[in-house]
């Protein structure tokens, strides 16, 4: 049964992609069905995990070291659930956003292929398979950015493409070095076999560099704000919520299974320092942003910094588990919250025809559902209870305090305050000065009801993650990766 659930996650979107390519007119329900099936598959895997613990699947019946292996543990299932849970409202939103327009015709196969790549990536446990999934993921993401057709989007897409390809090639060179040394690609086998050596360090350095470029960790984030800020709204949501997590997931797996225990502490401190830089710098840029979508994009840069904070915290022995739990919960909650914020921003932009913050107030007051969704997403980003973001930050803070990493505590608190800065900047649009007559706003383009409710749905999930954390945390802890 495990095989069926995992196959469902990969085969459903892939089949949908082909069908939507052949006959775009069928798009009405196929994509939604495919995302639902991914969710079903993820839930099925969750129940298998709960009953029988971590599993390994050998594709084609060829076990390690020859064939490609799929690995199912708490981390995998959480990520698959994230892909399904975030993907569903985004798909619903995209129906309303594109309507029957020509751009929409190409969106659907691209989105389905992206989802296939993402699910294959989360399931995989093989170095070269990850390369292929990274390329599929990256190329579909770039293609989705180009859909708005604007010059800014094309420029941003080109930068994203070149940077992404450099990242992939660095990763592949690292894989080549590892294969040259050990003759194996399967991570489970490599975990047992690798020993610290120059080749391993160089390979890990190359792979880490490539993956960090693709995860947009400061200062390698330069491609992200333009790309996420100028893409169509559902694409921005997909990119910020899901795509950036893909490369980071691989880095996480390598951290546990390939990186030797003799890694100098300095390395994780440097990574943490870069994370801190991302949080501070990204938040400041968000506060300074003039366009709503750029604000949300810079917020992504800042939030991705929290991911890097995991590395120094994971070194701290008994607090490593808390740090990992916080990290994964953070990725999930951020996915929901950031997705909701981008969908809401897209509604505002569609209604007003622009997203300049200075003149968005009348539009914001005309779209209360979207603003409410943005607010709830913002609550999770700020890390306020009762949201998923709060649970995640709480775990990370616990790990930091417990291991004596006071600098990280300070950084996280500062990050929370700064994020409040830019979130409230947007929320203040909803409120007019007391006593003023509401200004007659410009003509607003009507926004589909489904689009508004889709953003609210996604935001509510971020909230639910906070209210109902225990089942999720239990699931996560089954087969939690630990450094060998």
């Amino acid at each position: 049964m495990t095989l069926w659930w995992s196959t469902l996650c990969v085969a459903a979107p892939l089949l949908a992609a082909v069908l939507l390519f052949i006959r775009p007119k069928w798009m009405a329900g196929i994509a939604l069905v495919a995302v639902t099936l991914v969710l079903v598959g993820a839930l099925g895997l969750a129940s298998v995990l709960h009953d029988s613990g971590p599993q390994f699947i050998a594709i084609g019946g060829w076990g390690a070291p020859l064939g490609i292996g799929w690995r199912i543990d708490g981390l995998t299932v959480t990520m698959l659930l994230m892909a399904g849970i975030v993907g569903w409202p985004v798909t619903l939103y995209a129906h309303g956003y594109f309507g029957g327009a020509a751009a929409g015709r190409h969106f659907w196969p691209l989105w389905m292929l992206l989802l296939t790549a993402l699910c294959s990536l989360f399931l995989s446990n093989d170095l070269f398979n990850w390369y292929v999934t990274l390329e599929l993921l990256g190329l579909s993401a770039v293609a989705l950015v180009t859909l708005s057709g604007k010059k800014a989007a094309l420029d941003a897409a080109q930068r994203y493409l070149y940077t992404g390809l450099v990242g992939s090639l660095f990763y592949l060179m690292g894989v080549a070095l590892i294969y040259n040394d050990y003759g194996v690609l399967d991570l489970a086998v490599l975990r047992e076999v690798t020993e610290p050596s120059l080749a391993l360090w160089v390979a890990l350095g190359l792979m880490a560099f490539g993956l960090l470029v693709k995860s947009a960790l400061f200062p390698l984030h330069f491609w992200l704000p333009a790309a996420h800020g100028s893409a169509p709204a559902p694409v921005s949501a997909i990119l910020s919520a899901l795509v950036v997590k893909g490369a980071f997931y691989i880095l996480l797996r390598l951290w546990f299974d390939l990186v030797p225990a003799t890694l100098p502490d300095a390395v994780s401190l440097i990574l943490g320092g870069l994370g801190a830089g991302a949080i501070i710098w990204g938040s400041l840029q968000a506060i300074r942003a003039t366009r709503l979508k750029m604000l949300v994009a810079y917020s992504t840069v800042a939030q991705l910094g929290y991911l890097a904070l995991f590395f120094p915290l994971s070194e701290s022995g008994q607090w490593g588990d808390a740090a990992l739990t916080g990290l994964v919960y953070f990725m999930f909650a951020h996915g929901c919250a950031k997705g909701a914020m981008f969908l809401a921003a897209g509604n505002l932009q569609r209604a007003a025809g622009h997203d300049d913050l200075v003149s968005l107030a009348p539009t914001a007051q005309a779209l209360p559902v979207s603003m409410f969704a943005f607010a709830i997403g913002g609550v999770s980003i700020m890390g306020l209870p009762p949201s998923g973001g709060f649970i995640a930050k709480w775990s990370l803070l616990n790990a930091a305090i417990g291991s004596g990493g006071w600098i990280w505590v300070a950084v996280m608190i500062a990050g929370g305050l700064l994020s409040a800065g830019y979130i409230f900047r947007v929320l203040s649009l909803s409120f007019s000065e007391s006593g003023d007559e509401p200004e007659p706003g410009p003509e607003l383009v009507p926004v589909a009801k489904s689009s508004e409710w889709a953003s609210l749905l996604l935001a509510s999930i971020a909230l639910l993650l906070g209210l109902n954390a225990l089942p999720m945390l239990d699931l996560l802890s089954i087969g939690l990766p630990r450094a060998g």
Partner: protein, 90 residues
């Protein structure tokens, strides 16, 4: 240094030369060529890892390179089309 080592070094040299071209050159076509050369360098390193002393050649890196070439061709095609789209947008 054996012949295999020499080819591996050539691969590494191509990799860094392609990277330099990507960073230093300004024109799209030169950058795309740089990416291609980088890719070729990685493929060369992979192929040299297939050669063993007196053993039959290892088929796995060959398969990896074949896959890599197809991916590189796809990426190049898309990069060229994107460059063209940007040019026509002016």
């Amino acid at each position: 240094m054996t012949v295999t080592d020499f080819y591996a070094l050539v691969g590494v040299a191509l990799f860094v030369m392609g990277l330099s071209a990507l960073i230093l050159r300004k024109r799209d076509l030169q950058r795309i060529l740089g990416l291609n050369i980088m890719g070729t360098g990685v493929f060369m390193v992979l192929v040299t890892s297939a050669l063993g002393q007196g053993q039959p050649a290892d088929p796995v890196p060959h398969a990896m390179v074949l896959t890599g070439i197809v991916v590189a061709v796809s990426a190049t095609a898309f990069a060229l089309a994107l460059s063209l789209a940007r040019e026509r947008h002016k």
